[in-house]
Amino acid sequence: AQRVTQPEKLLSVFKGAPVELKCNYSYSGSPELFWYVQYSRQRLQLLLRHISRESIKGFTADLNKGETSFHLKKPFAQEEDSAMYYCALERADKLIFGTGTRLQVFP
């Protein structure tokens, strides 16, 4: 069965520290993976998708098929990065979300 696992419910770092939000998936096939973000009092929005291979707001994510991972990274966290982050797998136009990781960036 397809599944997305985000092992950390909460990740706390200080401003300027590196950030890595972990995401592992199980899927028999070529996955399409996404990171969604929800800032406080805002709606869920797409942050990035693996096929675009672009950096958004300084975040990058590399698909590692050998480790079945799609970790989200940023070298220097900012206070405005504090939010809820969800990893998602797309199968047949259906998104399967992980349980999310709350990132807190302290000044």
């Binding site: 997305v4 709606r43 797409l46 047949a92 136009d93 979300f97 349980t99």
Partner: protein, 112 residues
Amino acid sequence: EAGVVQSPRYKIIEKKQPVAFWCNPISGHNTLYWYRQNLGQGPELLIRYENEEAVDDSQLPKDRFSAERLKGVDSTLKIQPAELGDSAVYLCASSLVGDEQYFGPGTRLTVT
């Protein structure tokens, strides 16, 4: 552009009562999704529409949940009767076929 519009934003009802949620997608988006997000969980798809056709309703509890998308635009999700376990945030999203999904603000349902 207002984005995906949902109403109401909050709803408190007693168990066994009916409740309905409304969604207006982004203009031109032919695909519409209803998700349920339980506390501490990610969103889970309930139903997906392509225009007015429900193409994936495998996760919709059909004994008490129903949905419709008349004329392929607005959509309504109904629960009748509601149970305590239905307390959650109900999210609507829309997209062009195969493109990025845009989410609404959600409706927070509390069943007492």
